[in-house]
Symmetry: C2
Amino acid sequence: MKHIRAIAFDLYGTLFDVHSVAEQCNERFPGRGREISALWRQKQLEYTWLRSLMNRYVTFEQATEDALRYTCRHLGLALDDTTRDALCEAYLRLKPFAEVPDALRELRRRGLKLAVLSNGSPHSIGAVVDHAGLRDAFDHLLSVDPLRIYKPDDRVYTLAEQAFGVNRTAILFVSSNAWDATGARYFGFPTCWINRADNVFEEMGQRPDWEVGGVDEIVRLFDAANAAT
Amino acid sequence: MKHIRAIAFDLYGTLFDVHSVAEQCNERFPGRGREISALWRQKQLEYTWLRSLMNRYVTFEQATEDALRYTCRHLGLALDDTTRDALCEAYLRLKPFAEVPDALRELRRRGLKLAVLSNGSPHSIGAVVDHAGLRDAFDHLLSVDPLRIYKPDDRVYTLAEQAFGVNRTAILFVSSNAWDATGARYFGFPTCWINRADNVFEEMGQRPDWEVGGVDEIVRLFDAANAAT
């Protein structure tokens, strides 16, 4: 951590809990909230990967809506337009994980530059960050949208290097998504995997440099590394 | 179907049942066979997509082995080298779906050229096809391996057009994998989705031209189209 000057955070699943929509899903489809939320997230990711490979980009909002339509059809649930819009709107008001707001403030107090680097569109990222009152916590909100390609394409990770104006070796990349951490590490970022749910890492030829249980642990790792100097 | 001169078949899940390995999984891990087989297949696909996006190709055998290791770690199952090798070997001896051998023969009798177009390596494809005694059923066995990229990248679908020497509009692409059928249709193939398990199609902006329950139904569709002439 000693040479780290800036941190790029993944948004969905890392700073914000994508499964906080399960509650809204459960109101609309009683008893099915978690099941819907899990498949919805899985399909949302698949659609970003597959559309990138097919060179058929749509915005993250569109991929999210498509994934919800698939999920409801697969589960045999009727999805009317009002419910669809309400659930997709819920994705703009995800909750941050509990430790996130304080931990971001602590990292900035230590002189680190912070960015979001997300598959979301500028609109989605802005909405989620604003809703949580965290706009001021970041120096940059970086979206894949201008590139019309999704993670883990290398060009996405380059956005953080460009925005910070710092070499990739001085940028810590933080993600809860092991496939994203894998892509970032192949790119050349020192990488921290947030493993909140005791998952196992992906088997794609990389391991994270650090594994933590939340963003607050990154503050402690940073302090320990600098105290050791 | 009237203008179709050749057919390119996906292999895994389309002509051959990937879940026929569940039996071997179940012998090694009693009661867990189907669960292992389902997650193994899901991860195998994810690894092909993600490695394509990261430009970090490994062979399909390697991706298959990586996916098995992830699956067992995720499920908390100890995987020794002997078991790993035995289960990966099982992927080289998948069973064809029951109607496949006869249906392929019927299609060739009607003058159609047939090919496999698969994510598998030449070794994998050859082993699976030979084990089922179906080598002579095909004019071409086409692997993504020389391209070092996986479906649904457009370059893969081009392989069939090149091998048959026929325009894509005269090549029927057949897959049970809805994401693969989606990619093929974006490429410009007339596309038939084999839906054996009453699934719903993916929501990525395409629909198959035909949906059938097995390869034998393609024979009937072809006959009906030509009888109508």
